[in-house]
């Protein structure tokens, strides 16, 4: 779906923000977090079309929704995560639950189910995960057996256990993945169906406002019409078709949580006086606990927007790009939250400030929708194919492009980002020559390095744009400084980790060092301190003390 | 500027009666305006049912040198009875005090403009605050206040006597009347000024806060006269002068009742609750979030009673529910200028400071040595606000007991 116009999107964000200010203040969230309670009434109210109608954004217009694009959904998800990741997860569960119908449903099924979800404000849950099938859905145990009458399949009886289902205990409608005789398939199951029982609400580390429960299906009967797509065996394809998009939404969660924690830290740093001055004026504090996270998160944002734009312009899939976005954004968000506790010192460790809750919440983004280790593997697999297919020129082409662009844009970190990409290409080629990808460790680390190098490629291009995206809160000099700092960090890490990765597995000397050209990358590091000074100052201006 | 009667005049003659200066007559069933008498006050434009009278306001090169003197609009408090004149409001004395300073700098006269049902020796008190001259307009129609009647009367006065500067209180009435007239006269008007001065070119420099008090701007109206400004109450210092002779110019302005278009059906005044309101208080004991709780905040009531003071509060304290909003001092509350402002546990956000920094003496008590409030305080006391308030009460009580 193409994205909405910017004014419409921003009005929606404003309304959501306003709603949260009134109905979801921190004290309320803190109480619910303590009590491990899902605020069902608030969630229901958010679906009311006269209040927000938040579920409608993921339902196409022809079925009674609003039909937002990926860009719109990412912004909504980012804001939801800033409000509370538990609430965000619950709303996202409905979006996710709708997806199999959206992607695989027949026209009649879409009309029927999407229409009902839109109109009746149904809360939906996505039932894929099982005790023995998490990121790996191949071990699916839930079975769907034919119910035959007069030689015709009239329905299915579904039996099995689902685990850690968001909205599991409170949804009105469930999309359930089960093994049918023809293979994994999605079924629509209504809450009050006989034999269907949600289990208790889990006692979780974080996102405690999100209802998470197991589901028990004991010979649950559904009519044949409830088989999504009306053909068996399409389940995994239907699930995978939206990986690019769903991972991007989790990336948005990491971004929202990370910024939310970091904003608290930045504001706090201007009020807390230590040895004669505010913390915000001390490099030892800002350049360790604030600036690197701001840089990482803005790189993540640039990449998320790049993928969202591609999906909105009609591309499909983009599972590898989704994985790159999810991996970097959630890793960065998690670390930003961790350091925000540190930034607030003793206060950060108490529940009087929201950062410790954010830290507990954001951790889930590294786990759900595919753990970040699965992401490392996915990223490696996707890009290894490209490396082989292009005979090693995949990243060299990107580097050439940046070198060309850097003639006009000298201040966006493009040339050092290009060095990083060349180093990455050299490392991958060396791995190929020495068959190093037989070591799983090598492949996972490559996943990380790929993610960083590609982020530096996209970020430096975003910083050179004539006009920045509406979501960028920083002025041009600051944003460019961020892109430079990120590109320098990324190139250095690719070069050093890359060469140590190779040298850790092979003992013969090659000309890898020459190709990586660490010395050149090191030379490019100059200026990082003054850039960080600028970013630090800018952060305090944008997120001033309250 | 000019006035003309368009061809669509229907000859109803409503305008004839509306003109305060008998400048309109009928000829061949059309209105004719005697330009030697017309003051361009606009009263006729308001009553014309077919909009046939047009005043054009072109900012032609006006002869600015003809404009002299500093005028102050004298505002009366609203009485519960709409036909009864209230007291002169304090802001008018503030304006006269500042006006005196401006008039002296320009070597011009300070004039007070009084619209009232009848004079009650107002010139005496006005001269105590520096007025050289009082323009006195007496008419029963001046009660209750009406935008159209006041603006028509005052505009004719302006057109006749040509003041160089005209000041109004930034009150409900001042902010209703001044823009109405400024629009009609096509002259510059600056809202809610917190300082006024005269620059080297003899122009009125009008200083005012903007962006919620985050920034100050100096505004000039170089090409139009009078230079009009509304001035925030409780900002200018009141200065009394030695009594001297004051000239009273009575203007007889006829008022057509028909130009009163809006009607006050009913007036509702809140009862006085027995304490001085913060905008008029001599001493304010004010508290912020540093007092921690509603219960602890209440100690200020006791202290205020002992000092015969009013209780103020920061926005943070009001937002936290420590006290009612009408006690709020600052940009979104009330601007105050007491002789003494005692601030307990107020950190001093910009929006609070703009509302109290002109107090004569500010004493602030705060735990944080870097609290912004100290930047405007004469005395900065570092310590626990509640504890000090408590001990202060005890001390004053024991001193009184001894006395």
């Amino acid at each position: 779906m193409p994205q909405l116009d910017s004014i419409t999107r921003n009005l929606m964000l404003d309304s959501l923000n306003e709603y949260a200010k009134r109905k979801l203040p921190y004290d309320f969230i803190r109480e619910k977090d303590r009590e491990n309670e899902c605020p069902v009434d608030i969630l229901r109210e958010m679906y009311d079309p006269e209040v927000l109608g938040i579920h409608l954004i993921s339902i196409p217009r022809e079925y009674g929704g609003i039909g937002g694009g990926t860009t719109d959904l990412y912004r909504i998800c980012e804001l939801l995560a800033k409000i509370d990741l538990g609430v965000a997860t619950s709303v996202f569960a409905t979006y996710l639950g709708i997806d199999p119908i959206n992607v695989g449903g027949t026209e009649e099924q879409k009309k029927k189910w999407l229409g009902r979800i839109a109109e009746k404000r149904l809360m939906v849950a996505y039932g894929a995960t099982e005790p023995d099938a998490g990121s790996d859905l191949v071990n699916l145990k839930t079975k769907a057996e034919h119910v035959v009458r007069d030689g015709k399949i009239i329905g299915y009886r579904i039996t099995g256990l689902k685990q850690w289902i968001s909205n599991g205990g409170i949804a009105d409608l469930y999309t359930i993945l089960a093994m049918a005789p023809g293979g994994p398939s999605w079924f629509v199951v209504e809450r009050d169906t006989e034999g269907f029982t949600p289990a208790h609400h889990e006692d979780k580390h974080g996102i405690r406002l999100s209802n998470t429960a197991g589901l028990s299906l004991d010979s649950v009967y559904v009519p044949a019409d409830n088989l999504i797509g009306s053909v068996e065996g399409q389940g995994l394809l239907q699930a995978q078709a939206v990986f690019g998009y769903t991972r991007l939404m989790v990336a948005a969660f990491g971004l929202g949580c990370g910024w939310s924690a970091l904003e608290t830290a930045v504001r706090y740093s201007q009020q807390r006086i230590q040895s004669g001055g505010p913390l915000s004026e001390k490099q030892g504090y800002t350049h360790k606990l604030m600036v690197p996270h701001a840089v990482n998160l803005e790189a993540a944002r640039a990449y998320i927007e790049y993928v969202a734009q591609r999906l909105d312009s009609g591309e499909h899939g983009l599972a590898t790009e989704g994985a790159i976005a999810k991996y970097w954004s959630t890793e960065s968000g998690n670390r930003a939250a961790e350091d925000s506790i540190q930034a607030l010192g003793g206060y950060g460790y108490t529940k009087d400030f929201p950062v410790e809750k954010i830290k507990r919440d954001v951790k889930i983004t590294c786990i759900y929708e595919g753990t970040n280790e699965i992401m490392e593997m996915t990223i490696y697999r996707g890009r290894w194919q490209e490396h082989l297919k292009t005979r090693g020129s995949y990243y060299l082409n990107m580097a050439d492009e940046l070198d060309e662009l850097s003639k006009k844009n000298t201040d966006c970190g493009m040339s050092v980002a290009a060095m990083g990409l060349r180093a990455l290409s050299a490392v991958m080629e060396e791995c190929r020559l020495n068959k190093l990808t037989r070591h799983q460790h090598v492949t996972f680390v490559l996943g990380r390095l790929i993610s960083m190098a590609e982020h530096s490629y996209i970020f430096s291009k975003a910083a050179s744009a004539e006009r920045y995206s509406e979501s960028v809160k920083f002025d041009k000099p600051t944003y460019k400084a961020m892109a430079r700092v990120f590109a320098k960090n990324a190139a250095l890490e690719v070069a050093i980790r890359g060469s140590s990765l190779v040298l850790g597995a092979v003992d013969k000397a090659t000309n890898l060092a020459e190709k990586i050209n660490l010395a050149a990358i090191e030379k490019e590091q100059y200026g990082i301190i003054s850039d960080m000074d600028l970013i630090s100052k800018s952060l305090c201006q944008v997120f001033k003390a309250r | 500027m000019g006035i003309e009667v368009l061809n669509n005049c229907i000859g109803c003659s409503k305008c004839v009666g509306s003109c305060p200066f008998e400048a309109i007559s009928m000829s061949n069933k059309k209105a004719v305006i005697d330009l030697t008498k017309c003051t361009l006050c606009g009263a006729c434009v308001q009553v014309c049912p077919v909009k046939a009278i047009v005043i054009s306001r072109e900012m032609v090169k006006r002869d600015l040198s003809a404009y002299r003197d500093v005028w102050v609009f004298v505002e009366f408090a609203d009485d519960a009875d709409i036909k009864k004149q209230g007291e002169i409001k304090k802001v008018s004395f503030e304006l006269l005090s500042k006006g005196r300073f401006l008039a002296d700098k320009l070597n011009q006269k300070l004039c007070a403009v009084v619209l009232t049902d009848k004079n009650r020796d107002y010139e005496k008190i006005l001269s105590e605050y520096g007025a050289d001259r009082v323009y006195l307009l007496e008419n029963d129609e001046y009660l209750p206040y009406d935008t159209d009647i006041y603006s028509a009367s005052i505009m004719s006065l302006i057109n006749k006597y040509k003041p160089s500067i005209f000041l109004f209180g930034a009150t409900y009435k001042g902010r209703d009347l001044a823009p109405r007239m400024a629009a009609n006269l096509y002259v510059g008007l600056t809202a809610d000024c917190t300082d006024l001065n005269i620059n080297n070119d003899g122009l009125l420099v009008q200083s005012r806060p903007a962006f919620g008090g985050n920034i100050m701007a100096d505004i000039l109206s170089p090409n139009s006269r009078p230079q009009m400004a509304t001035v925030r109450p409780n900002v200018m210092k009141i200065v009394k002068v030695l009594p001297k002779a004051v000239e009273v110019i009575k203007e007889d302005i006829r008022i057509d009742k028909n130009i009163r278009r809006v009607k006050v059906v009913q007036r509702h005044k809140e009862e006085e609750k027995g304490y001085t309101k913060i905008e008029n208080a001599d001493i304010i004991v004010s508290g912020g979030r540093g007092l921690k709780s509603k219960e602890k905040f209440e100690i200020l009531n006791e202290l205020a009673k002992l000092l015969n003071a009013s209780v103020g509060a920061s926005r943070a304290a009001v937002d936290s529910g420590f006290i009612d909003k009408k006690h709020q001092v600052g940009q979104s509350g009330t601007t105050v200028r007491p002789r003494l402002y005692l601030a307990f546990g107020i950190s001093g956000a910009v929006q609070h400071l703009v509302g109290m920094k002109n107090s004569d003496v500010i004493v602030a008590i705060n735990k944080d040595p870097n609290a912004m409030i100290f930047s405007v305080s004469k005395y900065a006391i570092i310590g626990d606000a509640h504890d000090i308030a408590k001990k202060l009460i005890e001390k004053i009580k024991s001193a009184k007991a001894v006395a």
Binding site: - | M216, I381, K395
Partner: protein, 263 residues
Amino acid sequence: MNIFVCIKQVPDTTEVKINPETGTLIRAGVPSILNPYDHFAVVNALKIKKSNPDAVVNVISMGPPQAKAVIQMALALGCDNGYLLSDAAFAGSDTWATAYALSSAIKKIGKYDIIICGMQAIDGDTAQVGPQIASQLNIPQVTFADNVEIENKKALIKRHIDDGYDTIESPLPVLVTMVMPKDYELPFPSFVNITKALSKPFFTYTADDIMAKKEYLGLKGSPTQVNRIYPPQREVKTTVINTTSVEAVDKIIEILKQENFIK
């Protein structure tokens, strides 16, 4: 019945900060919002529409193209038609020139029975544009109202006065400026209504479109000029007292005596 609401897009002044070195406003990261008083004016206009179903609510704003956002907001809240006055000729207008442009546009658009404005915009705090529009249209004005109703072709208005309020009756057309009752929670539009607003009539007008004379617009047409912008200065010599609370209290008593507040 034709209702006009004049609105403005403003920076959220609670988020504005000054660059201490240059004394200029830092606009980066400061969100733009519908001026809250204008937002309340919209609410009141919609309330009038509710009891007068034939009423049409026109919302009008002067500003750069981005100001369309606040018009869309008003349409999403339920207003019927949106008008944006956007032209380089308007840039730099003071309250007089702004009122001239808005009143010219209102005249051009057509019949008006009531014009509702917010009392003031939170960026300028002048409260002048409303009365100046009324003056230029030669219609009565009632300022600082917190409620307006229309009954029998007359406006009933609750207007603030010092320590109380007046109930006012005014013929139509009238211009009313509105001040919010304290703690009023302004409504926000739902996602559905935001999308519905996209199909409502919206027009952008230039100075020529509203037949405004350029010499009355912008800097040239503005009788006031901004001469200087600077951060609020504070010049107080502060005496710091950092001691025990008992001694601090003695010191306060001493100050009170010294400044003649107590004997």
